[in-house]
Protein backbone atom coordinates (compact mmCIF):
# COMPACT_ATOMS: atom_id res chain seq x y z
CA UNK A 1 0.00 0.00 0.00
CA UNK A 2 3.00 2.21 0.67
CA UNK A 3 3.97 1.98 -2.98
CA UNK A 4 0.75 3.37 -4.34
CA UNK A 5 1.70 7.05 -4.82
CA UNK A 6 5.12 6.14 -6.17
CA UNK A 7 3.54 3.73 -8.63
CA UNK A 8 1.08 6.39 -9.70
CA UNK A 9 3.91 8.80 -10.34
CA UNK A 10 5.82 6.25 -12.40
CA UNK A 11 2.75 5.45 -14.42
CA UNK A 12 2.12 9.11 -14.97
CA UNK A 13 5.69 9.70 -16.13
CA UNK A 14 5.45 6.77 -18.51
CA UNK A 15 2.17 8.02 -19.87
CA UNK A 16 3.30 11.61 -20.27
CA UNK A 17 5.05 11.24 -23.65
CA UNK A 18 2.09 9.41 -25.14
CA UNK A 19 -0.36 11.95 -23.83
CA UNK A 20 1.74 14.87 -25.06
CA UNK A 21 2.11 13.25 -28.44
CA UNK A 22 -1.52 12.33 -28.91
CA UNK A 23 -2.83 15.48 -27.30
CA UNK A 24 -0.64 18.07 -28.92
CA UNK A 25 -0.03 16.48 -32.29
CA UNK A 26 -3.24 14.62 -32.95
CA UNK A 27 -6.26 15.47 -30.84
CA UNK A 28 -5.97 19.23 -30.39
CA UNK A 29 -4.97 19.85 -34.01
CA UNK A 30 -8.03 17.96 -35.12
CA UNK A 31 -10.20 19.88 -32.75
CA UNK A 32 -8.66 23.00 -34.21
CA UNK A 33 -9.52 22.16 -37.79
CA UNK A 34 -12.95 21.05 -36.72
CA UNK A 35 -13.51 24.46 -35.13
CA UNK A 36 -11.89 26.19 -38.05
CA UNK A 37 -14.12 24.38 -40.51
CA UNK A 38 -17.17 25.92 -38.87
CA UNK A 39 -15.98 29.47 -39.10
CA UNK A 40 -17.07 31.67 -41.97
CA UNK A 41 -15.58 34.93 -43.04
CA UNK A 42 -18.00 37.81 -42.68
CA UNK A 43 -15.55 40.64 -43.32
CA UNK A 44 -11.80 40.95 -43.47
CA UNK A 45 -10.40 39.43 -40.26
CA UNK A 46 -13.90 38.85 -38.89
CA UNK A 47 -15.14 35.29 -38.64
CA UNK A 48 -18.34 33.77 -37.26
CA UNK A 49 -19.64 30.32 -36.58
CA UNK A 50 -21.49 28.76 -39.49
CA UNK A 51 -21.86 25.88 -41.88
CA UNK A 52 -21.06 27.71 -45.05
CA UNK A 53 -17.86 25.78 -45.72
CA UNK A 54 -19.75 22.52 -45.73
CA UNK A 55 -22.64 23.98 -47.67
CA UNK A 56 -20.13 25.16 -50.20
CA UNK A 57 -18.93 21.59 -50.58
CA UNK A 58 -22.37 20.21 -51.19
CA UNK A 59 -23.63 22.96 -53.44
CA UNK A 60 -20.58 23.21 -55.62
CA UNK A 61 -20.55 20.13 -57.87
CA UNK A 62 -16.87 20.67 -58.50
CA UNK A 63 -15.96 19.80 -54.95
CA UNK A 64 -18.13 16.82 -54.33
CA UNK A 65 -17.36 15.44 -57.75
CA UNK A 66 -13.68 15.61 -57.01
CA UNK A 67 -14.42 14.00 -53.69
CA UNK A 68 -16.43 11.18 -55.24
CA UNK A 69 -13.87 10.71 -57.96
CA UNK A 70 -11.08 10.45 -55.40
CA UNK A 71 -13.04 7.94 -53.36
CA UNK A 72 -13.95 5.87 -56.38
CA UNK A 73 -10.47 5.85 -57.86
CA UNK A 74 -8.96 4.99 -54.48
CA UNK A 75 -11.22 1.99 -54.16
CA UNK A 76 -10.35 0.96 -57.68
CA UNK A 77 -6.65 1.34 -56.97
CA UNK A 78 -7.00 -0.67 -53.76
CA UNK A 79 -8.77 -3.48 -55.56
CA UNK A 80 -6.23 -3.53 -58.37
CA UNK A 81 -3.38 -3.52 -55.91
CA UNK A 82 -4.90 -6.45 -54.06
CA UNK A 83 -5.31 -8.48 -57.22
CA UNK A 84 -1.80 -7.72 -58.42
CA UNK A 85 -0.16 -8.25 -55.06
CA UNK A 86 -1.85 -11.48 -54.04
CA UNK A 87 0.10 -13.85 -56.29
CA UNK A 88 3.32 -12.14 -55.29
CA UNK A 89 2.59 -12.38 -51.60
CA UNK A 90 1.52 -15.99 -52.04
CA UNK A 91 4.76 -16.76 -53.81
CA UNK A 92 6.89 -15.04 -51.21
CA UNK A 93 5.06 -16.58 -48.28
CA UNK A 94 4.49 -20.10 -49.50
CA UNK A 95 6.76 -21.00 -52.37
CA UNK A 96 10.04 -19.16 -51.95
CA UNK A 97 12.37 -20.58 -49.33
CA UNK A 98 15.21 -19.27 -47.23
CA UNK A 99 17.53 -16.83 -48.97
CA UNK A 100 15.37 -16.40 -52.04
CA UNK A 101 12.44 -15.50 -49.89
CA UNK A 102 14.38 -12.92 -47.90
CA UNK A 103 15.74 -11.49 -51.13
CA UNK A 104 12.34 -11.22 -52.77
CA UNK A 105 10.92 -9.44 -49.77
CA UNK A 106 13.86 -7.10 -49.48
CA UNK A 107 13.67 -6.31 -53.18
CA UNK A 108 10.03 -5.42 -52.67
CA UNK A 109 10.93 -3.12 -49.82
CA UNK A 110 13.74 -1.23 -51.50
CA UNK A 111 11.80 0.86 -54.02
CA UNK A 112 9.45 1.94 -51.29
CA UNK A 113 12.02 3.31 -48.99
CA UNK A 114 13.23 5.53 -51.79
CA UNK A 115 11.15 8.64 -51.90
CA UNK A 116 7.75 8.57 -53.51
CA UNK A 117 9.00 11.43 -55.62
CA UNK A 118 11.84 9.40 -57.05
CA UNK A 119 9.42 6.68 -58.02
CA UNK A 120 7.10 9.20 -59.60
CA UNK A 121 9.99 10.79 -61.41
CA UNK A 122 10.81 7.37 -62.81
CA UNK A 123 7.30 6.94 -64.12
CA UNK A 124 7.31 10.42 -65.60
CA UNK A 125 10.52 9.65 -67.41
CA UNK A 126 9.09 6.42 -68.70
CA UNK A 127 5.70 7.65 -69.78
CA UNK A 128 6.06 11.17 -71.04
CA UNK A 129 5.86 11.98 -74.72
CA UNK A 130 9.61 12.41 -74.91
CA UNK A 131 10.10 9.57 -72.46
CA UNK A 132 11.62 6.14 -72.62
CA UNK A 133 8.57 4.08 -73.53
CA UNK A 134 7.57 6.44 -76.29
CA UNK A 135 11.15 6.43 -77.53
CA UNK A 136 11.35 2.66 -77.55
CA UNK A 137 8.00 2.34 -79.30
CA UNK A 138 9.26 4.61 -82.03
CA UNK A 139 12.61 2.87 -82.20
CA UNK A 140 11.01 -0.53 -82.77
CA UNK A 141 8.55 0.94 -85.18
CA UNK A 142 5.41 0.34 -83.13
CA UNK A 143 4.57 4.01 -83.32
CA UNK A 144 5.46 6.64 -85.86
CA UNK A 145 4.63 9.58 -83.60
CA UNK A 146 5.70 10.29 -80.06
CA UNK A 147 3.06 8.79 -77.76
CA UNK A 148 1.90 10.65 -74.70
CA UNK A 149 1.23 8.20 -71.87
CA UNK A 150 1.48 10.70 -69.07
CA UNK A 151 -1.10 13.16 -67.77
CA UNK A 152 -4.11 10.88 -67.73
CA UNK A 153 -6.04 8.82 -65.23
CA UNK A 154 -4.34 5.67 -66.37
CA UNK A 155 -0.98 7.08 -65.40
CA UNK A 156 -2.36 8.17 -62.03
CA UNK A 157 -3.78 4.71 -61.34
CA UNK A 158 -0.54 3.10 -62.41
CA UNK A 159 1.46 5.35 -60.12
CA UNK A 160 -0.86 4.82 -57.18
CA UNK A 161 -1.00 1.06 -57.61
CA UNK A 162 2.75 0.99 -57.83
CA UNK A 163 3.00 3.04 -54.66
CA UNK A 164 0.56 0.81 -52.81
CA UNK A 165 1.98 -2.58 -53.76
CA UNK A 166 4.42 -2.94 -50.92
CA UNK A 167 1.86 -2.01 -48.32
CA UNK A 168 -0.34 -4.74 -49.69
CA UNK A 169 2.35 -7.36 -50.11
CA UNK A 170 3.78 -7.18 -46.61
CA UNK A 171 0.57 -7.71 -44.63
CA UNK A 172 -0.60 -10.30 -47.12
CA UNK A 173 2.67 -12.20 -46.93
CA UNK A 174 2.59 -12.01 -43.14
CA UNK A 175 -0.90 -13.39 -43.03
CA UNK A 176 -0.17 -16.10 -45.55
CA UNK A 177 3.02 -17.03 -43.82
CA UNK A 178 1.17 -17.84 -40.63
CA UNK A 179 -0.94 -20.38 -42.47
CA UNK A 180 0.39 -23.73 -41.42
CA UNK A 181 1.57 -25.74 -44.46
CA UNK A 182 -0.16 -28.81 -43.06
CA UNK A 183 -3.53 -27.03 -43.21
CA UNK A 184 -3.08 -26.40 -46.92
CA UNK A 185 -1.95 -29.96 -47.42
CA UNK A 186 -4.95 -31.21 -45.50
CA UNK A 187 -7.08 -29.17 -47.89
CA UNK A 188 -5.63 -31.06 -50.85
CA UNK A 189 -5.52 -34.37 -49.05
CA UNK A 190 -9.26 -34.27 -48.44
CA UNK A 191 -9.82 -33.86 -52.16
CA UNK A 192 -9.83 -30.10 -52.64
CA UNK A 193 -8.71 -28.66 -55.97
CA UNK A 194 -6.33 -25.70 -56.12
CA UNK A 195 -9.25 -23.37 -56.51
CA UNK A 196 -11.18 -24.89 -53.58
CA UNK A 197 -8.17 -24.68 -51.32
CA UNK A 198 -7.54 -21.07 -52.36
CA UNK A 199 -11.14 -20.05 -51.89
CA UNK A 200 -12.02 -21.94 -48.73
CA UNK A 201 -8.71 -22.06 -46.87
CA UNK A 202 -6.07 -19.66 -48.10
CA UNK A 203 -8.22 -16.58 -48.64
CA UNK A 204 -10.25 -16.88 -45.42
CA UNK A 205 -7.02 -17.32 -43.53
CA UNK A 206 -5.45 -14.31 -45.19
CA UNK A 207 -8.50 -12.14 -44.52
CA UNK A 208 -6.94 -10.09 -41.73
CA UNK A 209 -3.97 -9.45 -43.99
CA UNK A 210 -6.20 -8.57 -46.91
CA UNK A 211 -8.17 -6.12 -44.82
CA UNK A 212 -5.04 -4.61 -43.31
CA UNK A 213 -3.43 -4.23 -46.70
CA UNK A 214 -6.57 -2.74 -48.21
CA UNK A 215 -6.97 -0.25 -45.39
CA UNK A 216 -3.41 0.91 -45.61
CA UNK A 217 -3.38 1.13 -49.39
CA UNK A 218 -6.68 2.94 -49.40
CA UNK A 219 -5.46 5.41 -46.80
CA UNK A 220 -2.26 6.07 -48.66
CA UNK A 221 -4.06 6.44 -51.96
CA UNK A 222 -6.83 8.70 -50.80
CA UNK A 223 -4.33 10.88 -48.97
CA UNK A 224 -1.75 10.92 -51.72
CA UNK A 225 -0.77 14.22 -53.19
CA UNK A 226 2.37 14.09 -55.29
CA UNK A 227 1.44 11.19 -57.54
CA UNK A 228 -1.89 12.52 -58.83
CA UNK A 229 -0.48 16.02 -59.14
CA UNK A 230 2.58 14.98 -61.07
CA UNK A 231 1.20 12.14 -63.17
CA UNK A 232 -2.33 13.40 -63.50
CA UNK A 233 -3.41 15.41 -66.43
CA UNK A 234 -5.36 18.53 -66.96
CA UNK A 235 -8.56 16.65 -66.29
CA UNK A 236 -7.92 15.06 -63.00
CA UNK A 237 -8.03 16.65 -59.60
CA UNK A 238 -7.39 14.75 -56.41
CA UNK A 239 -9.20 15.82 -53.29
CA UNK A 240 -5.96 16.49 -51.47
CA UNK A 241 -5.17 19.03 -54.17
CA UNK A 242 -8.35 20.84 -53.22
CA UNK A 243 -7.23 20.96 -49.63
CA UNK A 244 -3.81 22.14 -50.67
CA UNK A 245 -5.35 24.73 -52.97
CA UNK A 246 -7.60 26.09 -50.26
CA UNK A 247 -4.74 26.40 -47.85
CA UNK A 248 -1.94 27.49 -50.12
CA UNK A 249 -3.35 29.25 -53.15
CA UNK A 250 -6.67 30.51 -51.78
CA UNK A 251 -5.53 31.27 -48.22
CA UNK A 252 -8.97 30.05 -47.26
CA UNK A 253 -8.17 27.99 -44.20
CA UNK A 254 -11.72 27.45 -43.00
CA UNK A 255 -12.70 25.98 -46.34
CA UNK A 256 -9.54 23.85 -46.41
CA UNK A 257 -10.23 22.68 -42.88
CA UNK A 258 -13.74 21.64 -43.87
CA UNK A 259 -12.31 19.69 -46.77
CA UNK A 260 -9.78 18.11 -44.45
CA UNK A 261 -12.53 17.01 -42.09
CA UNK A 262 -14.48 15.59 -45.00
CA UNK A 263 -11.48 13.61 -46.21
CA UNK A 264 -10.96 12.30 -42.70
CA UNK A 265 -14.60 11.32 -42.53
CA UNK A 266 -14.42 9.61 -45.88
CA UNK A 267 -11.39 7.58 -45.01
CA UNK A 268 -12.70 6.65 -41.57
CA UNK A 269 -16.05 5.67 -43.03
CA UNK A 270 -14.56 3.44 -45.68
CA UNK A 271 -12.17 1.84 -43.22
CA UNK A 272 -15.03 1.22 -40.84
CA UNK A 273 -17.16 -0.19 -43.62
CA UNK A 274 -14.34 -2.45 -44.74
CA UNK A 275 -13.89 -3.74 -41.22
CA UNK A 276 -17.60 -4.27 -40.76
CA UNK A 277 -18.03 -6.15 -44.02
CA UNK A 278 -15.17 -8.49 -43.25
CA UNK A 279 -15.78 -8.75 -39.53
CA UNK A 280 -12.27 -7.69 -38.54
CA UNK A 281 -11.17 -5.31 -35.82
CA UNK A 282 -8.88 -2.36 -36.35
CA UNK A 283 -6.40 -3.25 -33.66
CA UNK A 284 -5.67 -6.79 -34.81
CA UNK A 285 -5.79 -5.67 -38.40
CA UNK A 286 -3.19 -2.98 -38.05
CA UNK A 287 -0.95 -5.20 -36.01
CA UNK A 288 -0.93 -7.51 -38.99
CA UNK A 289 0.83 -4.79 -40.90
Amino acid sequence: MMQKPAQRLTLFLLLAPAILWLGLLIVLPHVEILVLSFSERVAPRVYAFGFRNYLEFFTEPLYWRTFARTAFMSILVTALTLVLAFPIALYIARVAQGRVKAMLLLLCLLPFWVSELVRTLGWMMLLRETGVVSYILRAVGAADQPVELLYNDGAVILGLVYGGLLFMIVPLANALESLEPAVVEAGFDLGGSRWTVLRRIVIPHAMPGIVAGCIIVFMLTVGNFATPVLLGGKNGLWFTEQIYAQFITRFNWPQGAAFGMLLLLLSSAIVWLGLRLTGQSLGTTLKQA
Partner: protein, 279 residues
Protein backbone atom coordinates in the same frame (compact mmCIF):
# COMPACT_ATOMS: atom_id res chain seq x y z
CA UNK B 1 0.92 -25.34 -54.42
CA UNK B 2 4.60 -25.97 -53.83
CA UNK B 3 5.33 -26.27 -57.50
CA UNK B 4 4.64 -22.89 -59.04
CA UNK B 5 3.38 -22.97 -62.58
CA UNK B 6 5.37 -21.33 -65.36
CA UNK B 7 2.79 -18.57 -65.73
CA UNK B 8 3.13 -17.75 -62.07
CA UNK B 9 6.90 -17.60 -62.28
CA UNK B 10 6.70 -15.36 -65.33
CA UNK B 11 4.31 -13.11 -63.48
CA UNK B 12 6.75 -12.84 -60.58
CA UNK B 13 9.56 -11.96 -62.96
CA UNK B 14 7.43 -9.38 -64.76
CA UNK B 15 6.45 -7.93 -61.42
CA UNK B 16 10.01 -7.35 -60.35
CA UNK B 17 10.83 -5.77 -63.70
CA UNK B 18 7.84 -3.49 -63.20
CA UNK B 19 9.01 -2.74 -59.70
CA UNK B 20 12.49 -1.69 -60.66
CA UNK B 21 11.93 -0.18 -64.10
CA UNK B 22 11.28 3.37 -62.86
CA UNK B 23 14.19 3.28 -60.48
CA UNK B 24 16.58 1.93 -63.09
CA UNK B 25 15.55 4.59 -65.56
CA UNK B 26 16.07 7.29 -62.97
CA UNK B 27 19.48 5.89 -62.13
CA UNK B 28 20.62 5.47 -65.71
CA UNK B 29 19.65 8.95 -66.82
CA UNK B 30 21.60 10.47 -63.97
CA UNK B 31 24.60 9.84 -66.20
CA UNK B 32 23.12 11.13 -69.44
CA UNK B 33 25.08 14.01 -70.94
CA UNK B 34 21.96 15.96 -71.78
CA UNK B 35 20.23 18.89 -70.14
CA UNK B 36 16.96 16.94 -70.02
CA UNK B 37 16.28 13.67 -68.23
CA UNK B 38 14.93 11.91 -71.29
CA UNK B 39 16.18 9.89 -74.24
CA UNK B 40 18.06 9.81 -76.47
CA UNK B 41 21.27 8.80 -74.80
CA UNK B 42 23.83 11.47 -75.38
CA UNK B 43 26.82 9.91 -73.73
CA UNK B 44 28.09 9.29 -70.24
CA UNK B 45 28.86 12.11 -67.84
CA UNK B 46 29.35 12.73 -64.16
CA UNK B 47 28.46 16.37 -64.69
CA UNK B 48 25.15 15.99 -62.81
CA UNK B 49 27.00 14.89 -59.72
CA UNK B 50 30.10 16.99 -59.61
CA UNK B 51 29.78 19.44 -62.47
CA UNK B 52 30.09 23.13 -61.70
CA UNK B 53 27.38 24.10 -64.13
CA UNK B 54 29.74 25.04 -66.93
CA UNK B 55 28.57 22.29 -69.25
CA UNK B 56 24.77 22.47 -69.05
CA UNK B 57 24.07 25.74 -67.34
CA UNK B 58 22.93 24.02 -64.13
CA UNK B 59 25.37 22.71 -61.53
CA UNK B 60 25.64 19.09 -60.39
CA UNK B 61 24.15 17.97 -57.11
CA UNK B 62 27.30 18.04 -55.08
CA UNK B 63 28.09 21.62 -56.00
CA UNK B 64 24.61 23.06 -55.97
CA UNK B 65 23.84 24.82 -52.69
CA UNK B 66 20.11 24.26 -53.24
CA UNK B 67 20.51 20.49 -53.21
CA UNK B 68 23.15 20.46 -50.55
CA UNK B 69 21.15 22.56 -48.17
CA UNK B 70 18.01 20.53 -48.71
CA UNK B 71 19.93 17.33 -48.02
CA UNK B 72 21.23 19.02 -44.90
CA UNK B 73 17.70 20.03 -43.94
CA UNK B 74 16.51 16.47 -44.39
CA UNK B 75 19.15 15.31 -41.94
CA UNK B 76 18.25 18.09 -39.53
CA UNK B 77 14.75 16.69 -39.52
CA UNK B 78 15.42 12.97 -39.79
CA UNK B 79 17.93 12.61 -36.98
CA UNK B 80 15.83 14.21 -34.25
CA UNK B 81 12.79 12.37 -35.55
CA UNK B 82 14.60 9.04 -35.38
CA UNK B 83 15.99 9.68 -31.91
CA UNK B 84 12.68 10.86 -30.51
CA UNK B 85 10.82 8.04 -32.23
CA UNK B 86 13.01 5.46 -30.54
CA UNK B 87 12.93 7.15 -27.16
CA UNK B 88 9.23 7.89 -26.99
CA UNK B 89 8.41 4.69 -28.86
CA UNK B 90 10.15 2.67 -26.17
CA UNK B 91 8.22 4.39 -23.41
CA UNK B 92 4.97 3.94 -25.31
CA UNK B 93 5.68 0.29 -25.99
CA UNK B 94 6.28 -0.14 -22.29
CA UNK B 95 2.98 1.49 -21.49
CA UNK B 96 1.16 -0.71 -23.99
CA UNK B 97 2.73 -3.98 -22.96
CA UNK B 98 3.44 -3.58 -19.30
CA UNK B 99 1.40 -0.93 -17.57
CA UNK B 100 -2.06 -1.65 -16.24
CA UNK B 101 -4.50 1.24 -15.99
CA UNK B 102 -8.00 2.15 -16.90
CA UNK B 103 -8.48 3.32 -20.47
CA UNK B 104 -5.52 1.39 -21.78
CA UNK B 105 -7.37 -0.10 -24.71
CA UNK B 106 -8.60 3.37 -25.55
CA UNK B 107 -5.06 4.69 -25.46
CA UNK B 108 -3.89 1.81 -27.63
CA UNK B 109 -6.56 2.63 -30.19
CA UNK B 110 -5.57 6.28 -30.08
CA UNK B 111 -1.98 5.35 -30.77
CA UNK B 112 -3.05 3.54 -33.91
CA UNK B 113 -5.21 6.40 -35.09
CA UNK B 114 -2.50 8.47 -36.82
CA UNK B 115 -2.09 5.63 -39.29
CA UNK B 116 -5.55 6.21 -40.70
CA UNK B 117 -5.28 9.98 -40.98
CA UNK B 118 -4.25 11.18 -44.42
CA UNK B 119 -0.88 12.92 -44.29
CA UNK B 120 -2.20 16.13 -45.76
CA UNK B 121 -4.85 16.35 -43.07
CA UNK B 122 -2.26 15.73 -40.38
CA UNK B 123 -0.21 18.50 -41.92
CA UNK B 124 -2.97 21.09 -42.10
CA UNK B 125 -4.32 20.29 -38.66
CA UNK B 126 -0.93 20.70 -37.06
CA UNK B 127 -0.32 23.83 -39.08
CA UNK B 128 -3.62 25.34 -38.03
CA UNK B 129 -3.34 24.34 -34.40
CA UNK B 130 0.22 25.51 -33.95
CA UNK B 131 -0.43 28.79 -35.67
CA UNK B 132 -3.29 29.41 -33.27
CA UNK B 133 -1.09 28.34 -30.38
CA UNK B 134 1.70 30.61 -31.55
CA UNK B 135 -0.66 33.55 -31.99
CA UNK B 136 -2.07 33.01 -28.54
CA UNK B 137 1.30 32.64 -26.88
CA UNK B 138 2.64 35.59 -28.80
CA UNK B 139 -0.11 37.87 -27.61
CA UNK B 140 0.46 36.62 -24.13
CA UNK B 141 4.25 36.53 -23.96
CA UNK B 142 4.87 39.32 -26.44
CA UNK B 143 7.64 37.41 -28.22
CA UNK B 144 7.99 35.56 -31.47
CA UNK B 145 7.81 31.82 -31.04
CA UNK B 146 9.44 30.89 -34.31
CA UNK B 147 9.59 27.19 -33.64
CA UNK B 148 5.80 27.00 -33.64
CA UNK B 149 5.67 28.53 -37.10
CA UNK B 150 6.12 26.56 -40.31
CA UNK B 151 9.71 25.44 -40.43
CA UNK B 152 11.90 22.49 -39.61
CA UNK B 153 10.77 22.26 -36.00
CA UNK B 154 7.15 21.97 -37.07
CA UNK B 155 8.15 19.44 -39.74
CA UNK B 156 9.79 17.37 -37.03
CA UNK B 157 6.62 17.46 -34.95
CA UNK B 158 4.43 16.70 -37.93
CA UNK B 159 6.48 13.69 -38.95
CA UNK B 160 6.67 12.46 -35.38
CA UNK B 161 2.91 12.51 -35.14
CA UNK B 162 2.65 9.37 -37.26
CA UNK B 163 6.18 7.94 -37.17
CA UNK B 164 5.74 7.49 -33.42
CA UNK B 165 2.93 5.05 -34.12
CA UNK B 166 5.22 2.98 -36.31
CA UNK B 167 8.12 2.97 -33.90
CA UNK B 168 5.81 2.16 -31.01
CA UNK B 169 4.38 -0.78 -32.92
CA UNK B 170 7.80 -2.10 -33.87
CA UNK B 171 9.16 -1.92 -30.34
CA UNK B 172 5.96 -3.17 -28.74
CA UNK B 173 5.96 -6.19 -31.03
CA UNK B 174 9.41 -7.11 -29.81
CA UNK B 175 8.53 -6.41 -26.21
CA UNK B 176 5.52 -8.68 -26.54
CA UNK B 177 7.80 -11.53 -27.57
CA UNK B 178 9.87 -10.92 -24.49
CA UNK B 179 9.51 -13.72 -21.98
CA UNK B 180 8.73 -12.02 -18.69
CA UNK B 181 10.30 -14.90 -16.84
CA UNK B 182 13.69 -13.69 -18.12
CA UNK B 183 13.26 -10.57 -16.05
CA UNK B 184 12.00 -12.56 -13.11
CA UNK B 185 14.95 -14.90 -13.42
CA UNK B 186 17.39 -12.00 -13.37
CA UNK B 187 15.60 -10.48 -10.42
CA UNK B 188 15.57 -13.85 -8.71
CA UNK B 189 19.33 -14.11 -9.20
CA UNK B 190 19.73 -10.92 -7.21
CA UNK B 191 19.78 -8.15 -9.81
CA UNK B 192 18.29 -4.75 -8.99
CA UNK B 193 15.52 -3.37 -11.20
CA UNK B 194 17.80 -1.03 -13.10
CA UNK B 195 20.30 -3.80 -13.60
CA UNK B 196 17.58 -6.06 -14.98
CA UNK B 197 16.62 -3.30 -17.39
CA UNK B 198 20.20 -2.72 -18.44
CA UNK B 199 21.41 -6.29 -18.72
CA UNK B 200 18.34 -8.17 -19.86
CA UNK B 201 15.45 -6.09 -21.18
CA UNK B 202 17.27 -3.48 -23.22
CA UNK B 203 19.69 -5.94 -24.84
CA UNK B 204 16.68 -7.96 -25.84
CA UNK B 205 14.99 -4.89 -27.32
CA UNK B 206 18.09 -3.62 -29.08
CA UNK B 207 17.37 -5.01 -32.56
CA UNK B 208 13.94 -3.43 -32.49
CA UNK B 209 15.36 -0.13 -31.25
CA UNK B 210 17.80 -0.05 -34.13
CA UNK B 211 15.10 -1.18 -36.51
CA UNK B 212 12.63 1.44 -35.34
CA UNK B 213 15.30 4.12 -35.59
CA UNK B 214 16.20 3.18 -39.14
CA UNK B 215 12.59 2.97 -40.21
CA UNK B 216 11.93 6.36 -38.68
CA UNK B 217 14.97 7.76 -40.45
CA UNK B 218 13.80 6.41 -43.79
CA UNK B 219 10.22 7.51 -43.32
CA UNK B 220 11.31 10.97 -42.34
CA UNK B 221 13.57 11.27 -45.35
CA UNK B 222 10.83 10.05 -47.59
CA UNK B 223 7.86 11.91 -46.20
CA UNK B 224 6.26 14.41 -48.48
CA UNK B 225 2.59 14.97 -47.73
CA UNK B 226 2.81 16.12 -44.15
CA UNK B 227 6.08 17.95 -44.69
CA UNK B 228 4.66 19.90 -47.62
CA UNK B 229 2.11 21.58 -45.39
CA UNK B 230 4.58 22.45 -42.67
CA UNK B 231 7.75 23.64 -44.40
CA UNK B 232 8.97 27.14 -43.96
CA UNK B 233 11.91 28.57 -45.75
CA UNK B 234 14.18 25.51 -45.35
CA UNK B 235 12.99 22.79 -47.66
CA UNK B 236 13.91 19.17 -47.01
CA UNK B 237 14.85 17.00 -49.95
CA UNK B 238 11.41 15.78 -51.08
CA UNK B 239 10.05 19.31 -51.14
CA UNK B 240 12.94 20.54 -53.25
CA UNK B 241 12.53 17.59 -55.55
CA UNK B 242 8.84 18.28 -55.91
CA UNK B 243 9.56 21.90 -56.78
CA UNK B 244 12.13 20.86 -59.35
CA UNK B 245 9.86 18.28 -60.90
CA UNK B 246 7.14 20.82 -61.41
CA UNK B 247 9.68 23.22 -62.77
CA UNK B 248 10.83 20.72 -65.36
CA UNK B 249 13.83 19.00 -64.02
CA UNK B 250 17.42 18.57 -65.11
CA UNK B 251 19.19 15.24 -64.65
CA UNK B 252 20.52 16.67 -61.40
CA UNK B 253 17.32 15.37 -59.86
CA UNK B 254 18.19 11.92 -61.17
CA UNK B 255 21.56 12.25 -59.54
CA UNK B 256 19.97 13.17 -56.21
CA UNK B 257 17.60 10.24 -56.58
CA UNK B 258 20.46 7.87 -57.25
CA UNK B 259 22.27 9.09 -54.16
CA UNK B 260 19.07 8.60 -52.21
CA UNK B 261 18.70 5.06 -53.53
CA UNK B 262 22.25 4.24 -52.55
CA UNK B 263 21.69 5.66 -49.08
CA UNK B 264 18.46 3.73 -48.66
CA UNK B 265 20.09 0.58 -49.97
CA UNK B 266 22.80 1.00 -47.37
CA UNK B 267 20.36 1.52 -44.53
CA UNK B 268 18.24 -1.38 -45.74
CA UNK B 269 21.24 -3.69 -45.63
CA UNK B 270 22.03 -2.58 -42.09
CA UNK B 271 18.41 -3.29 -41.30
CA UNK B 272 18.51 -6.71 -42.90
CA UNK B 273 21.67 -7.53 -40.96
CA UNK B 274 20.22 -6.55 -37.60
CA UNK B 275 17.07 -8.45 -38.44
CA UNK B 276 19.18 -11.52 -39.05
CA UNK B 277 21.04 -11.05 -35.78
CA UNK B 278 17.68 -10.93 -34.08
CA UNK B 279 16.97 -14.53 -34.96
Amino acid sequence: MNRPSLAWKLYIAAFYVFLFAPLLIVAIFAFNASPFPSPPWRGFTLEWFTGSGAAFGKPGVLTDPVWLSSIGNSFKVAIPVALLAVLVGTVNAWVLERAEFRGKTFLAMMMLWPLVIPGVVLGISILAFFSRLANGLEDWLQTDLDFLRPGLSLVILGQLSFILTISTLIIAARLRKFDRSLEEAAFDLGASRTRVLRTVTLPFLRPSLIGAGLVALLMSFENFNTTLMLVGSDAPLPITMYGQMREGATPAINAVSLLLMLGVGGIASVFALTAKAER
